[in-house]
């Protein structure tokens, strides 16, 4: 109990904004922790998924948007599939990432959003992620040569998980339209 949250007038605007952007009914969360229990990345997160929801309810905007947790979510949807109140935390995390970027708030891992951008751009180009070009993109953006990741990278390559040439989906035109629509919506 280090800090005291002083509530003069409860600021529910953050809760309302996040609920609106994500479309999730965040008030319904009763902290059963099913989401956190099944989340593959929760052990590495600074704030657990259930706590993210609680902090949104409490109006702790800064703490939530500055967290690394929102960038650690890999959108596997385990949480949303299992949540008894139908809260899709993956969708919520996406909304939080967008809000963090708009507000210019960065996580402690300063390059984490660059990785996110490289991923999105890769999908934009081919309709699905192509690891080699995506990592090159990331290295250029971040000037991080990922030396520590060299050995796992080679292992993945040897297993055929890193195809040299990108493969594209058939409906490239549709992918393009999706991206246009999303950017326009903002």
């Amino acid at each position: 109990m280090e800090t005291t949250t002083s509530v003069e007038k409860m600021d529910s605007s953050f809760l309302e904004e996040v609920s609106k952007r994500s479309g999730e009914k965040l008030s319904l969360c009763y902290q059963c922790l099913k989401c956190t229990a099944g989340c593959p990345t929760a052990p590495y997160m600074d704030i657990r998924p259930n706590s993210i929801i609680r902090m949104i309810q409490m109006g702790m905007k800064r703490e939530v948007l500055e967290s690394s947790a929102i960038w650690f979510c890999v959108y596997c949807q385990t949480c949303g599939t299992r949540c008894p109140n139908e809260i899709h935390i993956g969708v919520l995390m996406d909304a939080l990432r967008e809000m963090a970027m708009e507000e210019g708030v960065h996580a402690k891992e300063k390059n984490i959003h660059l990785f996110h951008e490289a991923f999105i751009q890769s999908v934009r180009r081919g309709g699905r992620a192509h690891e080699v070009t995506m990592l090159m993109d990331y290295m250029l953006r971040s000037r991080d040569l990922m030396k520590g990741s060299l050995i796992p990278g080679v292992k993945l390559f040897l297993k055929g998980k890193f195809p040299l040439l990108p493969s594209f989906v058939k409906g490239k035109g549709e992918i393009k339209r999706i991206f246009e629509k999303c950017t326009k919506a903002k």
């Binding site: 109990m1 800090t3 005291t4 949250t5 002083s6 509530v7 003069e8 007038k9 409860m10 529910s12 809760l15 009914k25 008030s27 319904l28 009763y30 902290q31 706590s51 609680r54 902090m55 309810q57 409490m58 702790m60 109140n85």
Partner: protein
């Protein structure tokens, strides 16, 4: 010499897993007068009972010992079984080798087997001397008394009356309805409490089978199941209710106002007034501690204005006697005395109120005509804090139990508040949310979703006044942070405790209460609406905290139990009671003193003490107390007891 039978039950592995039943059956079979001994996996089952019946028939048994579980489980079963073969049921005895042997000696099988044998041998000694007894038949009064005119008592009374029985309904307040009359809307359907309740009350008021006594208290109870004699004290209302036409002129002209407990201190009543507007019965009472006439005789306004000349300043309390066959105790609850809740600022800070006070604010006929306002300055509270579990679930300082209704009514109150003050913010401090009945969880989740209630999981440490606000220090354990809220108003969900005077009433009824004063039921699962005293039934919050739905269910259950009890003119009672050897009794009267059931009486003409067979419960207190050994218990004589003891030592 009687021909006896021994029947040993395995009770699955409960007995046979520890006691060597085969060897016990064999050994007891060798006893001289035991004509038959057998063992079986479940004696209480139909094939098991068949073994007993056949043995009685074929071997001509004259006494039976069934070695099995406690007599409270199956004594009746086996006595019925032997009776069907023409044997007197009191010649059948139970040797308890489960609870008192196999269960407690699971690690000492040899010794347990020996002990089982001895228990059976001792019981055989008893059966040898058992007399043939007949059940005692007692005539009963086929009417019921209901103490308490809240929703529990009203439901029980109406159900019984509809069943065709005469009902005596006693309410200590001047009108029916109990605490439910103070409520605005009820969860989970948000129906207004009063209209449905008053419809029921009016039905009671004019029901030909219900004898309603408001402003009355039970003063004394004598008698026993089927034949209770009640003394009721009808408190002086100072108004002749027979003449009063309910016009209300007396109330209008009464110059005295006092702070009303009904309005939880938020409103006033006149010295002559109704309990609540539109009350049933719609008759006023003069509160003598507030009336000027009774202070110094200076005012007779009500008497002057009454068109029916119904005011009776000289009216006295009246005592009436009534006879009933069964009694429902529906004495209800109170909220925990708030003056003992200093840490929440109650009494010191005017804007700290309890849940019932907020209900009065919500009520359109209440002190604020339904508006939610701060008691201190009359403004609308924009930040409102609800604190749950105040004095509940706190074994160290207050009450250890859960009061069961607070989670739901707090959610309901927060919802009603939010509907009236859409820009207001309710905060709810809680420990756990318990929403365990039909539709409750759904109500709660829907309310939270729609109304944006902020639940803070943690206890409040301090409530204090600061710059016109009420500051609440607490903790939110879900984020692990201390929380400080500057609120306009605080609502405490205080614990439910039994009504005052229940202990006193219970001792008059010879019913028992637990350490908190709640009436105790005969068995928490199997006899939940019966008290441990025959003929006394329990309904509503006097037994334990419960909501309206549960209260109504329990009240109907008591009515149904009583209808079964009163369905015949005669009641059969166990004959295993005390009797007096008239040749030995010296008439010293010690037994009369020690009897807890008032079943012993001196017969002055004959100079001896007699047993009232309908009252005696066979406890044995008089037998132990009698200095001349003149009292004995049927089928538990001193000879039997000594012989049983000899078997063991």
């Amino acid at each position: 010499m009687k021909r006896l039978g021994v029947f040993i039950c395995h009770c699955g592995v409960n007995i046979a897993g520890t006691v060597d039943v085969k060897s016990v059956a064999e050994k007891t079979g060798r006893v001289e007068d035991v004509a038959h001994s057998a063992d079986y996996i479940y004696m209480c089952s139909e094939p098991g009972q068949q073994i007993i019946r056949e043995a009685i028939r074929e071997r001509g048994l004259e006494g039976v010992v069934v070695a099995c579980c406690s007599p409270s489980m199956h004594e009746n079963t086996f006595r019925k079984a032997v009776k069907s073969e023409g044997m007197n049921p009191y010649l059948c005895e139970i040797a308890n080798i489960r609870e008192q042997c196999s269960w407690v000696h699971q690690k000492e099988k040899t010794k347990a087997t020996e002990k089982a044998e001895e228990i059976i041998l001792a019981t055989l000694e008893k059966v040898r001397e058992n007399e043939k007894l007949e059940a005692i038949s007692v005539s009963i009064n086929r009417s019921a008394g209901v103490i308490g005119g809240g929703i529990a008592g009203m439901t029980a009374a109406l159900d019984l009356a509809e069943g065709g029985y005469e009902v005596l309904l006693i309410e200590k307040e001047q009108a029916l309805g109990g605490h439910m009359t103070q409520l605005s809307k009820t969860f989970p359907d948000l129906h207004p409490a009063l209209p449905d309740l008053l419809a029921k009350a009016r039905e009671i008021e004019r029901h030909p089978k219900i004898d309603l006594h408001c402003y009355s208290e039970m003063e004394d109870v004598k008698g026993y199941v089927g034949n209770f004699e009640l003394t009721i004290r009808k408190k002086a209302t100072s108004v002749d209710w027979g003449r009063c036409n309910g016009c209300g002129l007396c109330i209008r002209d009464c110059p005295v106002e006092y702070v009303s407990p009904f309005e939880r201190g938020l409103g006033v009543r006149k010295a002559i007034d109704l309990l609540y507007p539109g009350s049933v019965p719609q008759k006023p009472v003069i509160r003598r501690d507030h009336c000027r006439y009774f202070h110094d005789g200076s005012c007779r306004k009500c008497e002057e204005v009454c068109p029916e000349k119904a005011i009776r300043f000289d009216q006295q309390d009246e005592r009436i006697g009534k006879k009933v066959g069964a009694i429902v105790v529906a004495t209800g609850f109170e909220l925990y005395p708030t003056e003992q809740l200093g840490e929440y600022g109650y009494g010191e800070i005017p804007d700290v109120i309890d849940g019932l006070a907020l209900e009065r604010m919500f009520s359109v006929d209440g002190p604020t005509q339904g508006r939610i306002i701060r008691p201190s300055d009359g403004t609308v509270p924009k930040e409102i804090v609800f604190i749950q579990c105040v004095a509940s679930r706190d074994p160290d300082r207050y009450m250890p139990y859960c009061s069961r209704i607070c989670c739901m009514y707090t959610a309901k109150q927060a919802k009603i508040y939010k509907e009236q003050v859409p820009d207001g913010q309710p905060y709810i401090f809680y420990m756990d949310i318990r929403a365990d009945a039909k539709g409750y969880e759904e109500f709660l989740q829907k309310t939270i979703e729609e109304k944006g209630l902020l639940y803070l999981r943690g206890r409040v440490s301090r409530v204090f006044q600061d710059d016109g606000k009420v500051r609440i220090l607490g903790v939110d354990t879900l984020t692990g942070k201390m929380v400080e809220v500057a609120a306009d108003m605080v609502v405490l969900a205080t614990a439910i405790v039994p009504s005052q005077g229940v202990k006193d009433l219970a001792s008059k009824l010879r019913a028992t209460v637990d350490r908190h004063g709640f009436l105790t039921e005969a068995h928490i699962k199997l006899y939940p609406v019966e008290s441990s005293t025959k003929g006394i039934y329990l309904a509503g919050c006097g037994q334990s905290p419960k909501d309206i739905s549960d209260t109504v269910s329990q009240a109907s259950a008591t009515a149904s139990k009583i209808q079964a009890l009163l369905s015949t003119d005669q009641l059969l009672q166990d004959p295993l009671i005390a009797f007096v050897d008239e040749n030995i009794c010296s008439g010293c009267g010690i037994c009369v003193e020690v009897c807890p059931y008032e079943a012993r009486e001196m017969n002055s003409r004959r100079g001896i003490s007699v047993v009232h067979s309908a009252l005696c419960q066979g406890c044995g207190a008089c037998i132990a107390a009698c200095p001349n050994f003149a009292c004995e218990l049927r089928n538990s004589s001193s000879v039997q007891t000594l012989r049983m003891l000899e078997t063991f030592v």
